[in-house]
């Protein structure tokens, strides 16, 4: 935050504000007023100071970026860099509400069928060329081009046409109203004058990007680091941190050592690292905030065992989610009740989580005909209540969740076998083909709450994401309506209803949402946790001149 003390000079006679019938001040009172004002300014100048420019920020990452092109990228490392180099037409503010980025304003008309974006004027690409609506048109053409290997084509399926009536206006016409479409225009805009020559997929600008963003690309040493420099002409103001270094350190333990050595400024921590001795973090500030992921225990609703809602409710009562959070992420998370990110406006906080009540679980199961035999195992028609719980290999957290579930269900007499599979096999042979009984998986959610693809009954074909087999015609209707309404109040109400019904229907047992755990060097001023996360105001982070570490050559 720019904390500058701005000397305010108010000419006599204008002090009254709206009341224009104020008499002119007597000189004595005016003098008193100005003295008070002057001392306030002086004191504020002493305590609040202008942010300093300079210094470098060293971020760390497990993996290297692959393509620095927002249209082509699909991994998070590329996304981190592209987020600093490119802008979309819109972006999310700290409260996960859409605001303008390259578009100053927009107007939704004809019930959502037409969106007109009014673009900012005077924005320049990093090579000096002016940004115009032609670039937006070009980006859209590339998104729809069948030869381009973009994963985002389907976001724009409902777009009928995109035209630019003048260089600073873009008019998008949809075939049918599509509320998440507005958010999809957060896609980074790529420069037409760079990409019009050459093959988009293999263009050298995918390695040396030219964007409009707060940071300009400087250097990329493959698998070592990516170096960005502040863009002095950025339309929102020059960033304070002069340089941004993205260091690739593939091992989490080594990242931790580098953090302790103060050679990296930012690190994502695991729960046990977060809870390490305070003395280890003497130079760093730890932050925790809810992430946009959640872990769930999913049922195959077509399976005989899980068809009955009461059985699923019994399993919900049998599982102690709080102790799961305590044990698996050391308390750095929270149990959740529905399919939206915890900090999102779509999350219905009024839905109460089901308490852990094994007695009630047993009673419900008994109602369904599951009676314990001599050894305590639940039996019905001579068959025990046993199923296989699958999860993917390589994710310690999910494996632990599966084990905890196994242990907790054993207490009510259910026999769970945990099976851990290699990722690709798991997805292609078991999930896609619905060849599973129950799974422990997670979802990484986007900012827009539309999750039609996961819950609508039409999305059950092979390769689609409603693999648990959820079918609720009411929820279907609401999902469709929430997609087509632009009215934020109505959307919020719809998603809250969807949340409540999905929580009641229990197609998944929503386990918990882990926190994002970050440590940032103490000399960096400005990080502030908000519903969107931590980096929403990265452009305004700064380091006081005295504490700047990276002035000329960087020591390792």
């Amino acid at each position: 935050m720019k904390k500058a003390s701005i000397p305010i000079v108010i000419p006599p006679g204008c002090w009254g504000g709206i009341h224009h019938d104020v008499r002119p001040w007597f000189p004595r009172q005016w003098l008193r007023g100005m003295t008070i004002l002057g001392s306030v300014c002086l004191i504020s100048a002493l305590f609040l100071r202008a942010a300093d420019y300079g210094d470098a920020y060293v971020d760390s990452s497990i993996g290297d970026a692959s393509l620095l092109n927002p249209v082509l990228l699909s991994d998070s490392a590329s996304g981190d860099i592209a987020g600093l180099v490119f802008n979309g037409l819109v972006k999310y503010d700290k409260n996960i509400q859409l605001v303008g980025d390259l578009a100053e304003s927009w107007k939704v008309s004809r019930g959502g069928l037409v969106i007109v974006f009014h673009l900012r004027q005077g924005v320049r690409w990093h090579d000096g060329q002016p940004f115009t609506a032609e670039d937006v048109l070009f980006t859209y053409q590339k998104l729809k081009d069948p030869k381009v290997h973009t994963p985002y084509a389907s976001d724009f399926d409902d777009v009928q046409s995109v035209v630019a009536p003048d260089p600073y206006t873009v008019r998008v016409t949809y075939r049918k109203a599509f509320a998440p479409g507005l958010a999809s225009w957060g896609m980074g805009i790529v420069p037409k004058h760079i990409f019009e020559k050459g093959d988009f997929n293999t263009h050298p600008a995918n390695r040396r990007p030219i964007g409009t963003g707060p940071y300009r690309f400087k250097e990329w040493k493959t698998d070592q680091y990516i170096l960005l420099e502040a863009n002095p002409d950025y339309f929102e103001g020059k960033p304070y941190l002069q340089r941004y270094v993205y260091r690739i350190i593939p091992d989490q333990a080594v990242q931790f050592l580098e953090m302790r050595n103060q050679t990296i400024d930012s690190i994502t921590l695991t729960p046990d690292q977060f809870k390490a001795y305070d003395s280890i973090f003497e130079h760093h500030q730890r932050y925790r905030y809810p992430s946009f992921k959640y872990v769930y225990f999913g049922f195959n609703l077509k399976n005989e065992l899980f068809k009955d809602l009461r059985v699923r409710q019994a399993l919900a009562y049998a599982i102690d989610r709080q102790s799961m959070v305590q044990g698996i992420v050391l308390g750095l998370g929270q149990p959740i009740t529905g399919p939206f990110p915890v900090t999102s406006w779509a999350y219905n906080a009024e839905v109460k989580p089901m308490p852990c009540d094994p007695a009630r679980a047993k009673a419900l199961l008994a109602e369904c005909g599951w009676k314990p035999d001599a050894s305590g195992r639940l039996m019905k028609d001579g068959k025990p209540f046993a199923f296989t719980l699958m999860t993917n290999q390589g994710n310690k957290v999910r494996e632990l969740c599966a084990e905890v579930i196994q242990q907790q269900l054993k207490k009510v007499g259910i026999d769970v076998t945990v099976r851990i599979m290699e990722w690709s096999t798991f997805i292609h042979e078991y999930i896609d083909k619905k060849n599973f009984e129950a799974i422990v998986m997670g979802w990484q959610l986007g900012r827009d709450p539309d999750n039609y693809a996961m819950w609508h009954s039409s999305q059950q074909k092979e390769g689609q994401y409603n693999f648990c087999g959820y079918e609720n015609p009411e929820v279907d209707r609401w999902l469709v309506e929430a997609r087509e309404t632009f009215d934020p109040v109505r959307r919020k109400a719809l998603y809250h209803q969807i949340h409540a019904h999905i929580a009641a229907d229990l197609p998944y047992l929503f386990l918990y949402c882990p926190d994002e755990l970050v440590a940032i060097h103490k000399r960096i001023r400005g990080p502030e946790v908000a519903p969107l996360g931590l980096a929403w105001n990265f452009r305004e982070w700064w380091v006081p001149k005295k504490e700047q570490r990276y002035k000329t050559v960087m020591t390792p």
Partner: protein
């Protein structure tokens, strides 16, 4: 001799062909494909889009057809384009090759520098305190997991003492720095990985050296040389050593493919941009073109190394000459 050589060379071609065919089929057998990274469980990517991208990359053709196309490209030394970021595979390999060669040559050099004298002196005075001490040291280095040693070294030399950088290959600089500074910086970064890699792989070579020397020392001609009154260094340092090194030549030949591969763990721990990590990531992301290129190059080097070892062996030891 030439007949033998040309026969060996001719054997190379079907060997490489067979290796490439087998590798190609094996990696296709592994579940998943190159675009899974992007497409799996990604609500933005519909099955239609995924199918389109697959056919664009030629992945929906029958495997034999794909192999045929790959073979045709290889004939012109065109290794194709990486399926992860569309860059030429050859470029991806060559940008990592210098760093890999540097680290491996240095660590193998260190290994040789230490293992041969250790084996030599251990054999000269078997069961002495030197022999016993070095045996323990060498086996300790071999048994301890390399990542544990690496992390310990980082903590001691990087964090506590602050003498050496923790990971990476070079530091950053925003202003131009003189060449000697860059070289010095790189040397500081290379010290820990080289030491860890070299010291932990001493065991095999030093034991080979020791047993080979022991065998030689008990030969009659050594006793004859002693009887003739030659100096210690002339007998053991020249005659015995030379003969003891002969079986090690086979080992040297087999080390050739190690020059460009291996070391995934070290490279991951030290954030070192080498070929080992490149190969590992290629396998994890099913980047077929890159995997095949690395396999073919490795296979070529192994076969060449073998061939070279045989040649050297035949050259060095007159007793072994194939007709």
């Amino acid at each position: 001799m030439t007949a033998y050589l040309s026969r060996r060379l001719l054997h190379l071609i079907p060997t490489l062909f067979g290796i490439s065919l087998l590798s190609f089929f094996l990696i296709q057998l592994a579940p998943g494909g190159p675009i899974d990274q992007m497409a799996d469980l990604n609500p933005h990517v519909t099955p239609a889009v995924k199918a389109r991208i697959r056919s664009d990359m030629g992945l929906d053709q029958p495997i034999l057809v794909q192999y045929g196309r790959w073979l045709k490209r290889i004939a012109f030394f065109d290794f194709g384009v990486s399926l992860k970021d569309n860059r030429p595979v050859f470029k991806k390999i060559t940008e990592r090759l210098p760093a890999t060669l540097l680290l491996n040559i240095l660590s193998i050099g260190l290994m040789l520098l230490l293992a041969i004298p250790i084996g030599f002196f251990a054999a000269i005075k078997p069961r002495s305190w030197f022999d016993r001490l070095t045996t323990v040291f060498v086996f300790f280095g071999f048994s301890v997991p390399t990542y544990a040693v690496a992390l310990l070294a980082m903590i001691v030399f990087g964090l506590r003492l602050g003498w050496l950088p923790i990971s990476g290959l070079s530091s950053l600089n925003w202003a131009p720095v003189p060449v000697w500074m860059k070289v010095w910086d790189m040397a500081r970064h290379l010290l820990l990985p080289t030491l860890v890699l070299g010291l932990t792989s001493l065991a095999g070579l030093s034991r080979y050296m020791r047993s080979s020397m022991l065998e030689i020392i008990h030969q009659d001609y050594i006793r004859a040389a002693e009887a003739k009154g030659l100096t210690f260094w002339r007998i053991y340092g020249v005659h015995a050593l030379r003969n003891a090194l002969i079986p090690l030549i086979t080992l040297f030949g087999l080390m050739l493919p190690d020059l460009i591969g291996g070391g995934v763990i070290i490279e991951t721990i030290f954030a070192y941009p080498g070929m080992g990590r490149l190969g590992y990531e290629a396998i994890m992301t099913r980047d077929y073109n890159l995997i095949m290129a690395i396999t073919v190059i490795s296979a070529g080097l192994t076969v060449a190394g073998n061939f070279l070892a045989d040649l050297l062996y035949a050259y060095v030891d007159p007793r072994i000459r194939y007709r």
